[in-house]
C-alpha cells in the first residue's frame, strides 16, 4: 500500500487530499494508468513525485512510498 497526495483541481475533483492505493509495487507509468482508468483523473501534463522528488515513467513506486500528482504549477 502507498499514499497518493492530491492538489489543486485534482484534490477538488476527488474531494479528498489523499488516496490509499492497495498495490505492492507499480511503475510510474502503471500508476498513471490506474489513476486514469479507476479514478478518472487526467494525468496528461501531470508530473509524479515519489517521496518529494519528481519521478520518470519507469521509476518504481513501492510499499510505504508517498506519491504526489503534480499538475502544471502556477506559483510565483
Amino acid at each position: 500500500m502507498f499514499q497518493v497526495l492530491l492538489f489543486a483541481h485534482l484534490r477538488e475533483q476527488v474531494g479528498s487530499e489523499k488516496l490509499a492505493i492497495r498495490e505492492k509495487q507499480l511503475t510510474v507509468k502503471e500508476f498513471k494508468e490506474l489513476m486514469e482508468n479507476q479514478y478518472k483523473l487526467p494525468t496528461q501534463g501531470v508530473m509524479i513525485a515519489i517521496n518529494e522528488k519528481y519521478a520518470t515513467e519507469t521509476d518504481i513506486i513501492a510499499e510505504g512510498d508517498t506519491v504526489a500528482l503534480i499538475p502544471p504549477v502556477s506559483g510565483g
Partner: protein, 148 residues
Amino acid sequence: MFDIVSRPIDIGKVINQVEHRNAGAIVTFIGTVREMTQDKKTLYLEYEAYEPMAREMLSNIGKEIKKQWPGTVTAIVHRIGHLDIGDIAVVIAVSSPHRSDAYEANRYAIERIKTLVPIWKKEHWEDGDLWIGNQEGTVSYTENQSKV
C-alpha cells in the same frame, strides 16, 4: 532562507538574508497579485503548495544558482493561502559582487519557480474561479471548474 509561509512576507527580512560584505548588487523580484489580466478582474487568489517538496525545491534552486553564478547568495519566500490584490506572493533576493549575475540569477529563479515548484494558484473572479494550470495562465483545468 527558502520558505513557504502563510503570513505576509517581510521584504526587508528576505533582503537581509543575502546581504554581505562582498555583495555589490542585490536584485529582488517581488511578485504581487495583479487586479487585471487582459479584461478579467481578479477579486483574490488562493495559493496552495505541496509544502515540504516546495521548500526543498526552492532550496535546490538556490543551490543551482550558486553553482551557475559563483559568489551569489539567494533567498526565496513564497506565500500561500488567501491573497488580496496587491499582496505579495513571492520575494526572491539574489546578491552578487557584480550586478549582471544578480539580474540573471534572479530571473532564473522565478522561471524555475514557475515551471517546477509545486505551488498552485486559484483565481477568483466575480463570475467564477479556476485553478491556473501553468505559469502564464494559458493552461487551465476548465473541465473540473465552475464556469467562468
